[in-house]
């Protein structure tokens, strides 16, 4: 894959707060990259620097090998889908989509062909003459995507585009966006604070917190192998505990020594440990590695969310089998379900 965008040591501050603390990130052609993090982590700022709407205090942005920091937004081969769509209220659907092409003085014949193609892509054929102000949120969203993609950019930036939609529509749009990205075959850079959205759509997730990148990886990497406590906590639900790495493949927590699959730590290094709730099985007291009492069980639709109190802590377990509250149970997990993380770089 070819390198398309490169951020080199990007620093950005507003007034006296530093929003980005030296971001280094490479994005390749054809990737669906998600910048994921809580609000205020700097993800939108990074996107706006790439779009050209704000300028970094320090560092460089390379696009296709060329430094673009000084280029105004209208000279960049990048288009954006804005947070609240920012459709032009004085134009209809067709004119909104045709805007960029008309600026480029494209002939009206070609414009009409391209707009029609885009309307097909986003499923809005027949909406040409509608006022954009009359459309629903989901439809406005589609127009915004069509308006950006019709210019055939090399990169599409999406700034929390689904934030204003309801849950069902959001899920539909997630699948559709992924489909559109595959169809047009360009790089999508997507900003969101919704971890589920990120896991569903991305080829690569960049987890950010407080102006720093916490981890870059595929959705499975990020979920199964979080690099630190923050990532483990932010992505999915987890039991995070502290322990000591005795040796390669041997970890101790809650006063018990467990076999695990992690290695390469210092002897007796203090570590963070993640055990995902769905990896824990509820078994009889004799079979369990840890013993405890069921204190609550909530039905969540697909699974039960069960809390079990062991002498040291409260464990969260996702199970499809109902359990009796107040009963004594054992908790069982395999060595590969224990994920050990270095405390270095943790927050």
């Amino acid at each position: 894959m070819k390198k398309l965008i490169e951020f080199k040591n990007i620093v950005k501050g507003f007034d006296d707060t530093i929003v980005l603390k030296g971001i280094n990130l490479t994005i390749f052609e054809n990737e669906f990259v998600t910048l994921l993090g809580p609000s205020g982590c700097g993800k939108t700022t990074l996107l706006r620097i790439l779009g050209g709407f704000i300028e970094q205090n320090n560092g460089q942005v390379f696009f296709d090998g060329i430094e673009i920091s000084k280029l105004p937004p209208y000279k960049r081969e990048i288009n954006t889908v804005f947070q609240r769509y920012a459709l032009f209220p004085h134009m209809n659907v067709y004119d909104n989509i045709a805007f960029g092409l008309r600026i480029k003085k494209t002939s009206e014949d070609i414009i009409s062909q391209k707009v029609e193609k885009m309307l097909q892509l986003v499923g809005l054929v027949g909406f040409e003459k509608r006022a954009v102000t009359l459309l629903s949120g989901g439809q406005q969203q589609r127009v915004a995507i069509a308006r950006a993609l019709v210019n055939e950019p090399m990169v599409l930036l999406l700034d929390e585009p689904l934030g204003a939609l309801d849950l069902k529509l959001r899920k539909e749009m997630q699948i559709e966006l992924k489909k559109i990205q595959k169809e047009v075959g360009i790089t999508f850079i997507y900003v969101t604070h919704d971890q589920e959205e990120a896991l569903t759509m991305s080829d690569k997730i960049v987890v950010m917190n407080e102006g720093e990148i916490q981890q870059i990886g595929t959705p499975t990497d990020i979920y199964n192998e979080p690099e630190n406590r923050f990532v483990a906590d932010f992505i999915g639900e987890s039991n995070i505990l502290e322990g000591i790495m005795h040796d390669d493949y041997v970890v101790n927590f809650d006063g018990i020594t467990f076999e695990c699959v992690d290695y390469g730590f210092h002897d007796n290094e203090d570590v963070d440990i993640v055990v995902r709730p769905e990896d824990i099985d509820i078994v009889s007291v004799e079979q369990g590695k840890i013993k405890g009492e069921v204190i609550s069980s909530l039905f969540k639709g697909v699974h039960f969310e069960v809390f079990v109190k062991s002498p040291q802590r409260l464990w969260m377990i996702h199970t499809t089998d109902p359990v009796v509250i107040g009963s004594q149970v054992g908790l069982f997990f395999y060595p590969e379900d224990i994920h050990v993380m270095s405390k270095l770089g943790a927050y």
Binding site: G51, G52, F53, P72, P73, Y74, I78, N79, T80, F82, Q83, R84, A86, L87, F88, P89, H90, F99, G100, I103, K104, A131, V132, T133, L134, L135, S136, Q140, R147, A148, N151
Partner: protein, 281 residues
């Protein structure tokens, strides 16, 4: 709620005495001959027919054209000023808006008098001209002086109504336009200007209407022979004593104003409809 509503009643009473009754009297005078008293009066349309004479029609036409010129100049000056203010940071915006409104704190009569001091034969401008060895200019009692006075007096209304719209304009729309490849000029022509039309329209209403009916500015800066429709009405009532004809002219002017308001309102409504659809969607 009921209690508060009853507080309105004295106000309604005085409003009818001070506004409705005088207006009815104007209608009464306009349709009657002079020399009436309460018991014997004669209806007539002569007062309106009299206005059909070319000399009066020319006054009406002149008033409309002066007011139109004033409005156009106000847009040409007011729009860039409003745009500049809307671009400034928030603190400066407040300051600049105050600067625009400060002249309005002073009575219009006084402000107009001040222009006499600047424009007259021995005024500031001519003093400077003489000082530089240039011939003096005849500035007073010209169309120029009258239009200058009107633009000066009514410009703040234009600036404020355009500014209000520009300040509310969603910055994301401007960014979206840049993002789609439009440079600053294209963005202005295709996005900012069309979206600020409602502001321009309310500015036109606020400038054109007072400009068409003012009589103080033409009287001071245009001189005794400079007659606009406002002056004509004033003379009929105060100098000539022809209340009936004066009333008829007032009604004609009121109709012209209502017609022009109707036209601008229609134009504005078309736009508003589009805007309100946005809120529904």
């Amino acid at each position: 709620m009921k209690l508060y509503r009853s507080f309105v009643q004295p106000y309604l009473f005085w409003m009818s005495i001070l506004i409705v009754v005088p207006m009815l009297l104007i209608v009464f005078y306009a349709f009657t001959t002079s020399g009436n008293d309460i018991i014997s009066f004669r209806f007539t349309l002569d007062n309106f027919l009299k206005f059909g004479e070319p000399i009066f029609l020319r006054v009406l036409l002149r008033s409309l054209s002066i007011a139109l010129t004033t409005t156009v100049i106000s847009i040409i000056i007011g729009y860039p000023v409003a745009y500049f203010i809307a671009q400034a940071n928030e603190k400066n915006q407040t300051l600049l808006i105050m600067l625009v409104t400060i002249p309005m704190w002073i009575n219009m009569l006084v402000r107009t008098y001040a222009w006499i001091g600047i424009l007259s034969e021995n005024g500031i401008i001519n003093n400077i001209m003489t000082g530089l060895g240039l011939p003096t200019l005849n500035l007073m009692y010209t169309d120029f002086a009258v239009i200058l006075g009107m633009v000066y007096n009514f410009l703040p209304f234009m600036i404020l109504s355009i500014y209000t719209v520009l300040a509310k304009l969603d910055k994301a729309l401007i960014n979206a336009s840049y993002d789609l490849g439009a440079n600053k000029t294209q963005t202005f022509m295709k996005v900012v200007l069309p979206l600020s039309v409602p502001g321009i329209i309310s500015g036109i209403t606020l400038v054109f209407l007072p400009a068409v009916s003012t009589f103080v500015i033409p009287k001071f800066l245009g001189g005794g022979n400079y007659v606009l429709i406002g002056n004509l009405i004033e003379t009929q009532f105060i100098t000539v004593g022809e209340w009936n004809f004066g009333s008829a002219i007032s009604m004609i002017m009121a109709s012209v104003i209502m017609l022009s308001m109707f036209i601008t309102k229609r134009f504005d409504q078309d736009l508003e409809e589009r805007q309100s659809r946005k809120e529904v969607g």
